[in-house]
């Protein structure tokens, strides 16, 4: 049996391994393969280092090919022992440790090296690049110690590093030489929006800033700029750019310019040596993004083992992997003769979209804030399609441009994509490949990820892949991700539904279901209460209640018990009551045969065992004694628990009872995504247990500590400190603003704890503490909504409203005529 030719790959990174995958896919038996890697680990996804740093992924998550892949395909992996020399004469490579191997075909995939600007101090310990796992480990180590970090370079990589370090708790300053961030990918307007968003997240962004020196004695202590400013730092991340790593090729005498010269089949000036990835120069172009690499690897494999098709350069697009900030750019947006801009700005939503058109072809796109149509624009751009027929609607995105504005259905949108439209930019997977994978039996997101790698990396295309699953499988696909559809009646998420309610001015539930193509005639018991809440939150002035879309407790304004009777809890402001109120409660308990009166955890009294027919009457009695509904049954403000505070307690620092009553008077009656509890403690001894409430106040001598996001329950969560304020008025203002932010942005049935876990405390601080104008506006919206919701539902029912809810339609007595 003749021995197979030996393929040696230098570089165990994304390009080297992808090239091998493509070769194996075409002809698994062609070569004996050895891969040399400088790093002591298996093949992982380098572009996922940012989410790894940000703590959104673990190393296991970003492995592309584990050890079993090498074993299964008979590939010898030599890791941690880099190749140091290529001898073309004898067709051998030599490694650092002196190992020699001879090749028949050699593939150089050495990638690129980070560029370190040679300022004084650049070699101090604590100056790191952002290129591999070791760099991430060093950054995580530094982040564990906390303190200040400086990132030099406001490009894609630098901003992702800054974001990761910031999430890890460091105070981050970004130093960028150019006047706007990511100037190679974004235009000025989008660059400004991005800067603004990052600053609101607590990063300091210095543009037009030129580094003079990295200062420090034996280790990094700071960075000095040419204008004399000094920024303290315990680490400096240098992310100013990358350079093709061409050293081995150059020393071996291959033709090298900025990168290793290759032809359309990725062959270098030596016919038995090929090269792919960031280390090559093709047709004068050097690429530093991942998508071209996939195309190169396909061409290489085609040329080596199948029909040569050739590589003709790549058009690239960019996405920033900073969670919560959506940025997309593609093509040419520098403008120039014959170029026309179409621009859409939506200041409220923070959206900026710009597409650049030349000769009726799309040549560039910059999207900020809403990047959903990025792939569609990119597809139009790559195909060079004539956009004249859809020009009027082009800027509004695919749904409008292709559906005449009628269809916003995301399934239709993916259905309309062509088979070679790119779905996953990280792994270079087209719609056709995803559909083939689904047709081959991959019925879940995970199966698609395993099968064709789409959505397996940064995850920004997860929605598209899910829509493709739904498109291919119809009702058989249920959805699964965190950000999943509201319920099985729709493919929209909670957030999307809320946004569309506002955008399309949808006012009633049937209208929402019609406009958003609900798949059921009248929803289900999950989506109807959620929609009712979203509508009342969006349109407080005009909202009309739909009792049939309320859970029983909210429809009956009492808590249903397991025997079908109800319990009744009148409000006791701040947990304070009077002898008259107590007498009225005692009388009511007697009169309606309450089987139990219990003191609740929220400092009030719960009257148990009331029949639904008796509810209006007991409410009338309680109203007569001055009491109103305590909303103990609602996704609503429940109670404000207090201690006695400075009026009585020898430790009290402020009037916590008084503040509690004022807070309850401001907030009662407001509907929320879930129940909402407040407490005010008069001193740090915290007798009112304010640190496990949705909003808690701890009074101290100098003011009020405001705590948010706590709850008891199954998953106990202590509050986070939002901020400290000096006066009662401020405490009330922040409380109203926080509640309104929660009301407007949390998903229905999310308590504040999971909501804050999801959006991050920093985000809440930014909206409530740092953004003064925004806080005042939130408070104003809350108080406005309260004008419409502070009506005692008990009084309305006692006066006869919705009486059918409390009465039988008829009563049947045996052997007697009824009804009529």
């Amino acid at each position: 049996m003749p021995t197979k030719p030996h393929l040696i790959v230098i570089g165990n990174g994304m390009a080297g391994c992808r090239a091998v995958e493509e070769i194996l896919a075409r002809d698994p038996g062609r070569f004996r393969i050895t891969i040399f890697g400088a790093e002591p680990r298996v093949n992982y996804n380098r572009i996922m280092l940012s989410p790894l740093l940000a703590g959104e992924k673990s190393f296991e998550d970003i492995i592309i090919n584990g050890v079993e892949w090498y074993a299964d395909n008979d590939i010898t992996l030599v890791s941690g022992d880099p190749v140091t020399q290529i001898d073309r004469e004898s067709r051998t490579v030599r490694t650092q440790s002196g190992r020699m191997e001879s090749y028949d075909t050699l593939l150089i995939a050495t990638g690129s090296d980070p560029f370190i600007i040679p300022v004084p101090g650049h070699d101090l310990p604590g100056v790191i690049s952002f290129r591999d796992m070791d760099d991430v480990s060093k950054m995580l180590e530094a982040a564990n110690r906390g303190g200040d970090a400086v990132v030099i370079g406001g490009g894609l990589l630098g901003l992702e590093a800054a974001h990761g370090l910031s999430l890890r708790g460091m105070k981050v300053t970004v130093i960028h030489l150019m006047p706007t961030l990511m100037e190679r990918q974004l235009d000025e307007a989008a660059g400004w929006l991005l800067k603004d968003a990052l600053e609101k997240r607590g990063q300091t962004i210095l543009t037009g800033a030129d580094t003079a020196e990295i200062v420090g004695n034996g280790k990094v202590e700071g960075v000095r700029l040419k204008d004399g400013r000094e920024i303290p730092a315990s680490i400096v991340v240098m992310a100013v750019g990358i350079r093709p790593n061409t050293r081995l090729a150059k020393e071996a005498g291959l033709a090298v310019g900025r990168g290793i010269h290759v032809d359309d089949h990725m062959v270098t000036s030596d016919p038995s040596i090929l090269s792919v990835g960031e280390c090559v120069e093709h047709d004068g172009q050097v690429y530093g993004l991942v998508a071209p690499l996939w195309e190169m690897c396909r061409s290489l494999a085609d040329g080596l083992v199948a029909q040569p098709k050739g590589y003709f350069g790549s058009v690239t697009s960019t996405k920033l992997k900073v969670s919560g900030i959506d940025v997309f750019s593609a093509g040419d947006f520098s403008g120039g003769e014959g170029c026309e801009d179409i621009i859409l700005r939506d200041a409220t939503r923070g959206v900026y979209k710009r597409v650049i058109v030349k000769d009726d072809r799309l040549i560039g796109a910059v999207l900020y804030g809403d990047t959903g149509d990025g792939n569609w624009y990119f597809d139009l751009l790559k195909k060079g399609e004539n956009i004249a027929p859809i020009r009027d609607a082009l800027i509004f995105g695919q749904a409008f441009a292709s559906g005449g504005g009628a269809s916003a259905n995301p399934i239709d949108a993916v259905a309309a994509l062509s088979d070679d439209a790119e779905i996953c930019g990280c792994n270079g997977v087209s719609k056709g490949q995803v559909m083939a994978c689904i047709a081959g039996g991959a019925g879940t997101l995970d199966a698609v990820r395993a099968g064709c790698k789409a959505s397996a990396s940064c995850g920004s295309c997860t929605g598209l892949v899910e829509n493709l699953l739904a498109f291919a499988m119809g009702d058989d696909y249920a959805g699964e991700r965190d950000n999943k559809p509201m319920c099985k009646c729709t493919s929209f998420t909670h957030e999307e539904v809320r946004r569309l309610i506002l955008e399309q001015q949808l006012k009633v539930i049937p209208q929402v279901m019609q406009a958003l193509s609900w798949s059921t005639p009248d929803g289900c018991s999950s989506c109807r209460p959620a929609l009712n809440y979203y509508l009342l939150c969006a349109w407080p002035e005009t909202h009309e209640e739909d009792p049939q879309s309320r859970f029983v407790n909210e429809r009956m304004h009492a808590n249903i018990q397991k025997d079908g009777t109800y319990s009744v809890v009148p409000r006791m402001w701040g947990g304070v009551t009077t002898p008259n109120e107590l007498r009225a409660i005692a009388d009511a308990a007697d009169k309606y045969n309450a089987r139990l009166v219990k003191v609740t955890g929220g400092q009030r009294l719960d009257i148990f065992g009331i029949k639904k027919e008796d509810l209006p009457a007991i409410w009338a009695d309680l109203n007569a004694a001055g009491m109103v509904s305590g909303h103990a049954y609602g996704k609503a403000l429940r109670t404000v628990k207090t201690c006695v505070g400075s009026e009585w307690c020898r430790f009290g620092t402020q009037d916590s009872t008084g503040l509690g009553i004022k807070t309850e008077q401001m907030t009662w009656g407001s509907w929320m995504p879930h129940k909402f509890k407040i407490a005010v403690s008069g001193c740090p001894r915290n007798c009112a247990e304010a640190t496990i409430k949705d909003f808690g106040v701890i009074c101290v001598d100098s003011g009020y500590e405001l705590m948010v996001g706590g709850n008891g329950g199954i998953h106990l969560r202590g509050t986070d400190l939002l901020c400290k304020v000096a006066t009662e008025a401020e405490a009330l203002e922040y409380c109203a603003a926080f509640i309104q932010l929660y009301r407007e942005e949390a998903r229905y049935l999310d308590r504040t704890a999971p909501w804050i876990e999801r959006v991050g405390l920093d985000y809440v601080k930014q909206r409530i503490v740092e953004d003064t104008e925004g806080r005042k506006a939130l408070r104003q919206r809350f108080l406005h909504a309260q004008k419409f919701s502070q009506k005692d539902p008990w009084a309305e029912r006692a006066a006869g409203a919705e009486s059918h809810l409390h009465q039988h339609i008829a009563e049947v007595r045996p052997f007697a005529r009824v009804g009529g």
Partner: protein, 113 residues
């Protein structure tokens, strides 16, 4: 039309769409009368097969109701629990004639001593 077999329990418009009312039965089990979005009327014993939750207080959607106690979904047509749950609640024959709801006497009084 009231006959010995059918009891008139009132006009259809006493029931809100997607809502329910109860029919008390002296000496017997309470019955829930439902109205769907397109106006069809159904009747079930007002007790979920799971823990006897009052189905009349559930959310009605399509031709099912979700029990207010533990979210079991019950078919208004067959009384069977839907989804993964197992159980069945008796259905009571009911019809609409001239805008009035008629319910079957024999079924209503089943079990009444």
């Amino acid at each position: 039309m009231v006959t010995a077999d059918w009891l008139d329990i009132g006009p259809v418009d006493q029931l809100p769409a997607l809502g329910a009312r109860t029919l008390a039965v002296q000496g017997g089990e309470e019955i829930a009368i439902f109205r769907t979005a397109n106006g069809d009327i159904y009747a079930l014993r007002n007790a979920c097969p799971h823990k006897k939750g009052p189905l009349s207080q559930g959310i009605v959607h399509d031709t099912s109701v979700t029990c207010p106690l533990h979210n079991w979904r019950i078919s208004l047509v067959t009384g069977e629990a839907l989804g993964g749950d197992k159980g069945c609640v008796p259905t009571i024959p009911v019809k609409v004639d001239g805008g009035r709801i008629l319910i079957h006497r024999g079924h209503v009084l089943a079990g009444v001593a």
